[in-house]
């Protein structure tokens, strides 16, 4: 970036007092450092304490998810061991841990799960890992689809715009949660014969597929609007006149200008996908035992056995999820404020 003032300032200072000249020059240089929008955003974000704190919490959860195998190795347990069989002396006849507070001890930090007696600590670690993994995959898929179709509709216009907009309107009329639970068995049956046992990866793929199918429309709609307003601007006209092909204009001119809505929307979408995925597993149509999953822990927590005998158990998935969702939503707000300081909260 060449700014005329900087060029002037960096020239030899003709001043009578050399000391004064030196100080004014340093001040000038400091003031005139060019900053990219990304740097500006980063500076604004760093000033937002709530945003930085929630970013740390979110990173902590992501680290937990990534490091779950390492942590459980150090801790010396895995989420699949059925301690009701291995260590029956820890449970009563109904399968409730005998130690108070759900069997919390120095050996089992978060206690034991009533029923099968899985270790709650490792189960939660792996549950977070699996739920986050699925939700990140859904977010990536929906963002890619939303960006592609949204920009295509906004930039190409005409029939393409009409077709995509009608599809968006139509899919938005779907009762989404109902569609999720209804289509899960159908999608699973595409991959495996209903008579066979369903492998875990098929359930995961099906979960990602159904949430992706009804997840991309809001982003596409927003990006269509943004692209539409960008398409009439002078710099796009200039690019067109200078002979740039449409693909280059989309990639080099439009995409950098829609990064803000994409980032802001995906920070709002990810927690929504986490809760939706957990909800499906809670209803029994998502991930099922023994694969650890956040939502599946809630489904365990809602059994009469847990509700009557071991309230402690339900706090581990419950509190961790609240912290995660609150942190992620605050992060979303901060990202939005940092990118777009005009919108007041």
């Amino acid at each position: 970036m060449t700014s005329p003032t900087k060029a002037e300032g960096s020239g030899p200072a003709v001043a009578l007092d050399p000391e004064l000249a030196a100080t004014t020059e340093t001040v000038q240089v400091k003031e005139l450092v060019g900053r990219s929008p990304g740097q500006l955003m980063w500076i604004r974000f760093k000033r937002d304490r709530a945003g930085v704190t929630s970013a740390c919490i979110v990173l902590f959860f992501i680290a937990i998810g990534l490091l779950a195998p390492v942590i459980s190795k150090l801790y010396g347990k895995d989420p699949y061991t059925v301690y009701a069989d291995e260590r029956p002396e820890l449970f009563d006849s109904a399968g409730v841990p005998l130690h108070p507070n759900g069997g919390i001890s120095s050996e089992f930090w978060f206690g034991l799960e009533p029923g099968n007696g899985y270790d709650v600590f490792t189960k939660l670690l792996y549950g977070i890992r699996n739920s986050l993994g699925i939700s990140v995959a859904v977010t990536v898929a929906t963002v890619l689809t939303g960006v592609l179709l949204g920009i295509a509709a906004g930039y190409l216009g005409g029939k393409v715009d009409f077709a995509i907009s009608r599809v968006v309107d139509f899919l938005l009329a779907f009762p989404s949660q109902l569609f999720f639970i209804a289509s899960m068995p159908v999608v699973v049956s595409l991959f495996v014969d209903p008579k066979d046992e369903t492998p875990v990866y098929v359930r995961v793929v099906a979960l990602i597929a159904v949430q992706w199918f009804l997840g991309w429309m809001s982003l596409a709609r927003i990006l269509r609007g943004t692209t539409l307003s960008l398409a009439g601007r002078e710099f796009i006209e200039a690019a067109k006149v200078s002979g740039a092909p449409p693909w280059r204009i989309i990639r080099k001119e439009i995409l950098p200008n829609v990064v803000t809505p994409i980032l802001v929307q995906s920070t709002y979408m990810l927690p929504a996908f986490v809760t939706a995925e957990a909800g499906l597993s809670f209803l029994g149509v998502g991930i099922v035992e023994p694969t650890p999953d956040w939502g599946q822990m809630f489904s365990k927590a809602s059994t009469e056995l847990v509700m009557q005998n071991d309230i402690t158990y339900m706090f581990f998935p419950g509190i961790s999820m609240i912290i995660f969702i609150v942190a992620f939503n605050l992060l979303g707000d901060s990202v939005r404020d940092a990118f777009d300081p005009k919108t007041a909260r």
Binding site: P175, L178, M184, S189, K195, A301, S302, M321, I322, L330
Partner: protein, 326 residues
């Protein structure tokens, strides 16, 4: 107004027909053999042939769809369970009952749950939002904002079992929630639903508090509000008569979406508290791979959503004088 309603109804009907096509294709066109899905793990060739026959899926997909569609409009007589008057969604594979009458049967539970919760969360949520906006920047506002932030991040599948465990099983303050017909015993109807209402509206109220607060604060910065203040109207008059009315517009939109979703079946709430509504019906239908029933619930819910979209848009005209229908 009439033209607007007519046009929107026509549009909704088109979407509903398209949705029927997609849902029908999803359930009857996509699986390699829908009968196999319903037959389950202990399937014999005889049972399979039987399902094929009762569902009529030995015919081609377009033919099946035509039969289904004409059944919806005119009713059908070709079921072994007896005749099926319009709107005919067929018979449940699992319970052998008429799908439409099952839907009507389950509807009162869902409507009771949705309407009761909606009244509660609108009063609490909008009230708290107004107080927070009125006392903006004070401790009250901060407490309300923080509280609603945390509560709106709660999930029913956590709050529901937690409330059940503490209030029902530990403290014995409530009975286990159950649905009694209002006409049979209004008192039992009320006490049986009070816990689901409370849990459902806690989460919704928190969301409406946040919405009402921010919408109100935005409205207070509008020019017509400033003009009204400048003309010497009292703060409370401007607050309630000018700003509040304007702040309702975005809330009505969201409320329309929420109430439509709730009337289509509050799936997780009904599942958590074991209430026999449409949402629970959907989960049961999935568990038994009961495709005719599932198709029925899905179309019913979609019709609810579309219906309330129209109602909400029509409501704008009353709230916002700038909106002109047609």
């Amino acid at each position: 107004m009439l033209r607007f309603i007519l046009r929107r109804t026509l549009g909704a009907a088109v979407i509903l027909v398209l949705l029927t096509v997609v849902a029908f294709l999803l359930f009857f066109g996509m699986p390699r053999d829908p009968a196999l899905l319903m037959c389950g793990k202990t399937c014999t060739p005889d049972a399979l042939a039987n399902i094929h026959q009762t569902l009529g899926i030995d015919k081609s997909i377009p033919e099946q769809f035509w039969i289904f569609l004409s059944g919806l409009v005119m009713g059908r007589d070709d079921f072994s369970q007896g005749s099926c008057p319009a709107p005919c969604f067929g018979y449940s594979y699992h319970t052998n009952e008429n799908v439409w009458s099952t839907l009507i049967d389950r509807l009162p539970t869902t409507v009771s749950l949705a309407v009761g919760a909606a009244i509660l969360f609108l009063i609490v949520g909008l009230g708290a939002g107004l107080i927070a906006a009125w006392k903006r920047g004070t401790v009250v506002d901060k407490a309300f904002t923080a509280g609603s932030m945390v509560l709106s991040s709660m999930q029913i599948y956590f709050l529901g079992p937690l409330a059940m465990a503490i209030l029902v099983f530990q403290m014995h303050l409530f009975d286990e929630p159950k649905y009694t017909n209002f006409t049979e015993d209004p008192a039992a109807w009320f006490t049986g639903l009070i816990l689901p209402w409370a849990v459902l509206s806690t989460i919704f109220a928190a969301q409406y508090t946040r919405m009402a607060r921010s919408s109100m604060i935005e409205q207070l910065q509008e020019e017509h509000v400033r003009t009204a203040r400048a003309k010497g109207m009292s703060r409370s008059y401007v607050f309630f008569r000018y700003a509040w009315r304007g702040s309702l517009i975005p809330i009505v939109t969201i409320f329309g979406i929420d109430i439509a979703a709730l009337l289509g079946g509050a799936i997780i709430t009904e599942f958590t508290f074991g209430l026999p509504g449409l949402g629970r019906l959907a989960v049961e239908a999935v568990n038994f791979s009961d495709l005719p029933l599932l198709l029925g619930v899905m179309l019913f819910s979609a019709a609810m959503i579309l219906l309330f979209n129209i109602i909400v848009d029509a409501c704008y005209a009353f709230i916002d004088p700038r909106v002109r229908l047609s």
